[in-house]
Symmetry: C2
Subunit: 484 residues, 2 copies
């Protein structure tokens, strides 16, 4: 019987798949469908080429593909046949009672974590006053793509294999040198553990270094993701006041006298949410207290590089003489959230302990991305990119603050932030932030509903991810929503 | 004063950095070093080009770069000057007592986890009988590189932004269809959560669904990484016997009668470490027991796609009618460990709960990699790649088993595995596996020292990541080390 290959194989010239792949796919599909049976002889490549109207080389390539996938075999002197042992045989279904439905009989009670909130992704908005995110349109995408593709394609085998949980040594070397140079630190590669963003850093620190019910100090306003993580891990948060200079360090001692405090969490350079920089004298006091009462300072330096006014202040980690500061940060704020390389810097015994938990949580870092970042750190690409975005973000900060002061001064109370990517905005009590948020959403503008800081009618207004034209538009939307 | 730019700027024609970048870097370095001072007038682009011997366009590009980084400014009618407000000012060091050393005063006792072992990375070996890893040289690196670069460069903004913790919807759609087609399952995208490999799946399940001290059943031999994870989380492992057909299901009921069992962990398709496939009748029994005693079946299907002999058996998840099976797997075994996309399939209420913990542990998945995999799943690239490697690995399995039987039959007791990438090898008691491991290591061959299965003098011998020539060499090294 003549097999009607021309009809069986549907070849599309405009498909992204090469013709030979389409021929191979078509034949293997017909084998799987039972139309071409085991032992059936195939046409020779020349006859098949004539029949299908393609070059013989194309058919040879298709047969090679089918052979290497195990669909066909060649018997010497006899020709090419559908293989006796096919690669993709029908699996054994062992269940008689085959009603395959995931039903919802409440058989086992699933525990409910009520602390963790998964907010909706607000990617649908054209304009956004987000929590303080970079403008991903400025990211060095060309360089990232080129380097990433290079390692995937040409990287030595080890790049594709399992590796250690600490992070790539090359990255740790380059990055420790970078921190020593830019942050006044004095660390070795062994003091660094890479993480998946700051978020994994919180989780690792909270899990590896503390016990349930340990007491930790945070500001009464604080980065919500940190609170959520530590509360889920069963740690007790002790809230202290903050003022216009950040956390009130004097309030710490009183707590330490009453109970054993294991750590304080602090966003020292640009306090989250209020954006202020912790003053040198408070830093010195905080370090002295940590020494006196033996607690860790978890220093989250999430956007150190974006400081606009005056001179930046070196992190507490630069003045730590007893390994009490656990320093962390991330490239997500520096480049784009999708590139999830963060880091923890601490004394080596702590890093060793954190690495164990990373081993069972995530096994290892993003090898390729870490190598890409090491390249971009050492050839200056990241430095140039940061300098450029610093200038751009400063313009955006100035423009946003000026516009808000000019247009909405009676409604929004703000202080120009010295750094970072967001403004801390307190709204007049006449305005309901949650209603305003809904109103502007319908006009394509994201604005936080303020629920993270409930009683304050306040929120962070990120200015960095919009250009000047967009900022103008966004303030316009805000203004008309308020004055409606 | 004439500034000696020619001497100040070191331009290398063979550098990978473009000339204009080198000029810009050189000038900014001289500004930072204090050699070029704020307010200094720079040569015009034409004179600078003449002086340096480059095209004027190159100098213009360098000045543009310096301007966009904020190092220089242009005053109308006057020329170009080193900027008044430099972008990279020296940070404020606040500590008088600036002995920056991370010393090791045992100030705070760091808790020590003694369960988690971080093994050395064995990437230095030319030959390796590993735990059962794919040959990364076969990975579709070209396609991965091309697609990855495409998304980094041209992906819409949302690809670079924060996203949800569940995984990319496109991946979940394509992959749920793939599982339904190949595994006889009947799931929706909402039943899938992506993870960082199987490892994060273990951690998430252990954290979100159980309480400390909950009882879980495992085989007396079991995948060590699972045990390590669940023990660290405080769960109680109850070990049941295994035989030549995998876990002895009959031993479960006896335990369930004595105490409340919350889950069993099972590598059903190729038992880890012994490689056997759990028979249909045991699967039916296991499902019935899970229903009777209300426990979860954590089904780790880590290399389902690599089954050589007979027909593969559909996973237990395909016959689960009550949402008791939590199914997991990973692409690390299918492509290469560096590409860390794994998955959990379970009923939606469970996925929702697991996602909360992923939110605080890792925030989100690898957006770009998930999109790349979705593309490769839907255009057939992964299917072709799997069919090819299946054929290759079968050859390698056959060749390795034959060689070992011919050359070392009296030393190594093995059963040809029906699938997977490793052989379960029991060594004669005369041979010390830990000594043998050291001996062959000095000849460039990795062989496990058997410490994971202490009393048995046995280990897994992965055959998939070496080609036939390497396998022959590896067996040769083994043979001469044994017969020395």
């Amino acid at each position: 019987m003549e097999i009607p290959f021309k009809t069986l194989l549907e070849i599309k010239k405009d498909s992204p798949l090469p013709i030979y792949v389409q021929i191979a796919n078509g034949i293997s599909q017909n084998i799987q469908a039972g139309i071409l049976k085991t032992g059936t002889k195939l046409l020779g490549t020349r006859s098949m080429a004539d029949l299908l109207g393609f070059h013989r080389k194309t058919v040879i390539a298709a047969y090679d593909e089918l052979f290497s996938q195990g669909w066909i075999e060649t018997l010497p002197q006899k020709g090419t046949f559908i293989a006796q042992n096919l690669p993709n045989v029908k699996p054994i279904s062992f269940s008689e009672n085959n009603q395959k439905s995931v039903d919802d009989i409440p058989f086992i009670i699933i525990p409910q974590n009520t602390i963790i909130k998964i907010p909706p992704v607000n990617s649908g908005f054209r304009l956004t006053f987000n929590d303080g995110l970079p403008d991903v349109r400025l990211a060095p995408r060309e360089e990232l793509a080129r380097l990433y593709a290079h390692y995937v394609k040409f990287g030595e085998s080890a790049v594709l294999q399992y590796t250690n949980p600490y992070g790539q040594m090359r990255f740790r070397e380059v990055f420790s040198a970078f921190l020593n140079e830019t942050r006044g630190m004095n660390i070795q590669p062994e003091n660094i553990l890479t993480t998946r963003g700051s978020q994994m850093a919180f989780y690792l620190i909270g899990t590896a270094l503390f016990q349930k019910n340990d007491n930790v100090i945070v500001g009464e306003l604080n980065y919500p993701a940190f609170n959520m993580t530590f509360e889920t891990l069963g740690l007790k948060l002790n809230r202290i006041p903050i003022d216009e200079d950040g956390i009130v360090v004097d309030a710490i001692e009183e707590i330490c006298e009453r109970k054993s405090i294991k750590a304080i969490y602090i966003t020292s350079h640009h306090y989250h949410p209020t954006t202020v920089t912790l003053k040198p004298e408070r830093r010195i006091k905080l370090l002295a207290l940590a020494e006196k009462y033996s607690f860790y300072i978890i220093e989250d330096d999430y956007d150190y590089d974006y400081h606009y006014a005056n001179r930046p202040v070196l992190p507490l980690a630069s003045a730590d003489r007893h390994g009490l500061v656990i320093y962390l940060g991330s490239f997500t704020k520096r480049i784009a959230p999708t590139f999830r390389v963060g880091y923890i810097v601490a004394k080596q015994e702590i890093i060793e302990e954190l690495a164990k938990y990373r081993r069972i949580m995530d096994r290892q870092g993003d090898t390729i991305l870490e190598l890409v970042l090491a390249d971009m750190l050492s050839d200056g690409t990241l430095k140039r990119y940061t300098a450029k975005s610093l200038k751009t973000y400063r313009e955006r900060r100035d423009f946003t603050c000026e516009l808000l002061k000019n247009e909405l001064n009676e409604i929004i109370n703000l202080r120009i932030p010295d750094g970072g990517m967001a403004i801390w905005a307190k709204f007049d009590r006449q305005i309901s932030l949650s209603e305003l948020s809904k109103k502007v959403a319908s006009k394509g503008l994201y604005l936080s509903d303020g629920s993270a800081y409930e009683d304050l009618n306040a929120c962070r207004m990120g200015f960095a991810s919009m250009n000047l034209k967009e900022i103008e538009e966004a303030v316009g939307v805000l203004k008309s929503a308020i004055h409606l």
